[in-house]
């Protein structure tokens, strides 16, 4: 399986994602934001970080980068595109996935482990995962928001990918770290080939780190892609 990770100026989880993808068997290439053409890929990842410093709305500058035209075309033709954290923010800015990401409810950066419940398993990303996942978040703007009409559409199309929950999968407000509407932690596009999510599976790939559910995620992903 071939993957590509896009590096924007200010990306800082690009290396971590590269390490993770390679660990689970992807042949990964790093792609510079100023390039025009995307290498042949089975998966494109927009990594976390602070693209262009996030001085404007997070992700908005990066969404206009040269390479993004190719990424958008790739996604629209059914290619698998995954945006993590800042990558999710970029995806939102391109309009590939609906909604916006606001500042965290308590106005503070949050770095900690969280649990997420998979809401939709009928897709390449989460098919065959049958448990609540322990993931890791590290963000300042992960408070997912959309209009009522949008929310209805998202739910009707089963676009909610994962929700924040407790270890038993209860998705109550108290397990919501950042104020996201309906505890939403990740969203698909209508076709489910594009996934944006705040948690960082690439930081959970070794028992010495914060946990190993990232390993589960990547192993499952590459198997589903095969």
């Amino acid at each position: 399986m071939k993957s590509s990770v896009i590096t924007f100026p200010g990306s800082n989880c690009d290396r971590d994602m590269d390490v993770a993808l390679k660990k689970f068997g992807f042949k990964n290439k790093m792609v510079w934001h100023d390039d025009v053409e995307l290498p042949k890929s089975d998966l494109v990842v927009l990594p976390g970080g602070f693209s262009y410093g996030d001085y404007l709305r997070c992700g908005s500058m990066a969404s206009k980068s040269k390479i993004m035209t190719s990424v958008i075309n790739f996604a629209n033709s059914g290619g698998m595109v995954m945006g993590i954290c800042n990558g999710f923010q970029i995806l939102v800015e391109t309009g590939l996935v609906p909604g916006v990401l606001l500042r965290n409810k308590y106005l503070e950066f949050i770095c900690k482990n969280v649990f997420v419940k998979i809401n939709n398993k009928k897709n390449t990303y989460f098919k065959n995962i049958n448990k609540v996942l322990e993931f890791h978040i590290a963000h300042n703007e992960g408070n997912y928001f959309c209009t009522k009409d949008q929310l209805k559409e998202i739910e009707d199309n089963e676009q909610v990918a994962i929700n924040y929950c407790d270890k038993d999968g209860k998705t109550e407000e108290q397990f919501n770290p950042n104020g996201s509407i309906k505890n939403i932690a990740g969203i698909f596009n209508k076709e489910k080939n594009v996934l944006g999510m705040m948690p960082h599976p690439e930081r959970m790939i070794d028992h010495s780190l914060s946990g190993e559910d990232g390993s589960l995620f990547f192993n499952n992903l590459i198997n589903n892609l095969k």
Binding site: G10, R15, G49, F50, G53, F109, H136, N140, R203, S208
Partner: protein, 730 residues
């Protein structure tokens, strides 16, 4: 502007210093030159009050590649890997403008590390605030934490450990000390020594603006009621540009075009150009019209003294300019050839084709003032006599809960959750333990780092306090299974012109020196911050020690959480019952006087090394050093972390139970071992003459002494975790 004595005094120079400048130059300096002298001769850059004493610190060791004098210290960790590290203060700016002050402190220290060719792999910080009740404390704390996070998180460097303290002596002067560790290949370390004639001098990074002019001079003076007027002297940080600068510099460093490189930190272009010339015994010629400026009509004076952030000065090999420029173009950073090295040994500046400065380099560096300030020796205070009836009337559990929720002991999770501590994917011990630990990427090795200070002990007796803080750092590294390598120090004190404050400095440094020499724990970098005072009142002497250690096989790392029910818990090191200056004495008995606990360097080394042996043999399940709050506080923290309890038995000693549990005798650790290994562990401890007491056995969920004295771990946990969050949300 005509330069005279008054103008010099307004620049923070003393009368006789100005006279010396005129004598060295054999004329009166012009305003640009005066600005340069004031920047180079202030306390912050010249170390004029401290140099004499710092010379006495041990700075050499088998693993030391570079000691003090460069941008940061460098130590060897084997396999051609080296760690570059340093701690630095950003106290004054952080008090004036907490967010930017703290942010640029973090930015500055990271630059010091990547200037040497190392990729930063971990950040730490030691931050000190006034009393929680003081009206400024909450906002300062919030601003500093946001600033540290804002910069470090954006750079993508994990913040893995730190220390937060509250004490009313910081009401008018908070402390923000930032530390960074970087990883470099031993044969790819870059230095700031210029070499060769007619080599191009390159400016890269952000443009120069009017921010931070006289920042270093501001940091070399006390505060008064006009402090708000000093806001313009605080620099403004741009972590995004620094991230680009980091990547661009490392890309350039992969080749062989750099002769010397120096970041523009305190005193900006002035100190960076002069340091490079001075170390290379060369001159430098700069055309100031070529310096990229953010604002129009900046004067030579402003350009030379600006402390705009995220800038570097590089001396390149001839003919490599285009290749270098391409890299900086790729990262959208300014790149300008602004001058060249010369044989004149002078700093010669041109502006609009006019020579605006012509100063011999040695007058700024070697001839800078050095003072042997008057200082007062401290006496060891007398011991307090504590009434046993008073102790017996106290309830252990109530005291424990009070101590666990003390601002200086309570969990600092509210703070470190705002720092990205997991980015780079190698953090194997998060904040909240004895040390932060990161793996050396792609290897089995890991580096542990801790930052410590014990201002109360240093205040009570500077010599003992100085020793103690080095030992504390040593212990924090050993507790996670790391072999201590070296330290960096950040020496925060009041005015050196005050004999008491100067005495505190001299004796703390002496204590640090003695301990680091005895423990083979050399000082490889650091900085001094004086004038931490508002009007006449100085802070408690606060040397912060940043220690690093190596874990050869990271699978053997130790954490402090209790692991398994029925395991045995021991305290190693002797408990004499030293209560004076303990948290217990100060906060429960309300007794602020008395001597700090004694430091026995022989025991410290012996116990530490013995524990490392036990860890090497896989006998240790968890470990934690005993510090503030004594044995029972240490045990409670291990219980909370591990979600387990303990049945405590007090060994049969002559001292009171309260003294036994809350004393802060030094050189002690709590360790957890299995029943099966207890005999072997005892034998090794005995063989090495390490005193130990068996403290108890791990249980499911309560701290149990007897039926009347017990508490659930959940209850202790809420005492421990709630204080800070409640305080900040009020």
């Amino acid at each position: 502007m005509i330069v005279n004595e008054q103008v010099a005094i307004d620049h923070g120079l003393k009368k006789d210093e100005f006279a010396k400048i005129c004598e060295l130059l054999e004329r009166t300096p012009n305003i640009t030159e005066l600005g340069i002298f004031s920047a180079m001769w202030n306390e912050h850059c010249s170390y004029k009050s401290s140099r004499l004493h710092l010379k006495k610190l041990p700075t050499k060791g088998k693993q030391v590649i570079q000691g003090p004098g460069e941008n940061a210290g460098v130590v060897d960790i084997g396999d051609n890997d080296a760690i570059v590290f340093k701690i630095e203060s950003h106290n004054h700016p952080s008090f004036i403008e907490p967010y930017q002050g703290a942010a640029t402190g973090v930015g500055g220290i990271m630059r010091d590390v990547f200037t040497m060719g190392a990729r930063p792999i971990a950040n730490l910080n030691s931050i000190h605030f006034g009393s929680p009740q003081h009206k400024k404390t909450k906002n300062l704390l919030r601003g500093v934490v946001h600033g540290i996070g804002g910069y470090g998180n954006c750079m993508g460097v994990p913040t893995i450990a730190g220390q937060t303290n509250f004490d009313s002596s910081y009401n008018g002067n908070i402390l923000v000390n930032a530390m960074t560790l970087g990883l470099v290949k031993k044969d790819k370390i870059f230095y700031s020594k210029a070499a060769g004639l007619n080599k191009p001098v390159i400016y890269v990074g952000s443009k120069t603006g009017r921010d931070g002019i006289h920042g270093a001079s501001m940091a070399s003076a006390s505060f008064d009621e006009k402090i708000e007027e000093k806001k313009p002297t605080v620099q403004v940080g741009d972590p995004f540009t620094e991230k680009l600068l980091l990547e661009a510099c490392l890309e350039l460093m992969a080749g062989d075009s750099i002769i010397a490189i120096q970041d523009m930190g305190a005193a900006g272009l002035t100190s960076s150009s002069i340091e490079m010339a001075s170390k290379g015994n060369l001159g430098i010629e700069i055309d100031l019209n070529k310096v990229p400026c953010r604002e129009a009509k900046m004067t030579p004076y402003e350009i030379m003294l600006s402390e705009s952030q995220e800038r570097m000065l590089i001396v390149l090999e001839n003919g490599k300019e285009n290749q270098a420029k391409k890299i900086f173009d790729k990262w959208n950073l300014d790149f300008a050839i602004i001058g060249k090295t010369t044989k004149s040994k002078r700093i010669e500046l041109y502006f609009n084709n006019e020579k605006v400065s012509n100063i011999p380099v040695n007058t700024l560096v070697e001839n800078s003032p050095m003072y042997d300030r008057k200082w007062k020796k401290s006496k060891l205070p007398k011991k307090n006599i504590i009434k046993k009836e008073h102790l017996n009337s106290l309830k252990i559990i109530n005291v424990l809960k009070k101590i666990l929720s003390d601002p200086n002991v309570c969990s600092k999770e509210w703070i470190w959750q705002q720092y990205d501590h997991t980015v780079m994917g190698d953090t194997i011990q998060k904040p909240g333990g004895d040390s932060g630990v990161v793996r050396v990427h792609g290897t089995n090795k890991a580096v542990a780092a801790s930052v410590d200070s014990s201002a109360v002990y240093c205040w009570a007796h500077p010599l003992t306090g100085g020793k103690q803080v080095v030992c504390e750092s040593f212990r924090n590294l050993i507790s996670v299974g790391a072999k201590p390598i070296a330290i960096t120090n950040c020496l925060n004190f009041g005015s050196p012109e005050n004999e008491d404050n100067m005495g505190e400095f001299v004796e703390c440094v002496q204590g640090i020196g003695e301990a680091s020499k005895y423990l083979n724990f050399p000082v490889v970098s650091g900085n001094v911050s004086f004038y931490n005072q508002t009007k006449e009142k100085g802070i408690k002497p606060t040397p912060s020690i940043g220690g690093i250690g190596l874990i050869k096989d990271y699978q053997k790392m130790i954490t402090m959480d209790f692991k398994e029910v029925d395991n045995i818990v021991l305290v190693i090191g002797k408990t004499e019952g030293h209560i004076d200056q303990s948290l217990f004495s100060r906060n429960i008995l309300n007794e602020k006087n008395g001597p700090p606990p004694e430091v026995n360097l022989f025991n410290e080394k012996n116990i530490g090394e013995t524990l490392l042996k036990l860890i090497e043999k896989d006998f240790i399940k968890s470990a934690h050093d005993v510090s503030l709050g004594g044995i029972i506080t240490a045990v409670a923290k291990m219980s909370i972390k591990g979600n387990k309890g303990i049945n405590l038995i007090k060994p049969k000693f002559l001292i009171n139970e309260i003294e036994y549990y809350f004393a802060e005798d030094q050189g002690r650790y709590i360790i957890e071992v299995t029943k099966e290994n207890l005999k072997k562990v005892s034998d090794i401890l005995n063989k090495n003459a390490v005193h130990f007491d068996q403290l108890g056995t791990i249980n499911e969920n309560q701290l149990y002494i007897n039926d009347k004295t017990k508490v659930t771990i959940d209850e202790l946990k809420s005492s421990h975790t709630n204080w800070l969050e409640n305080y900040m949300s009020k």
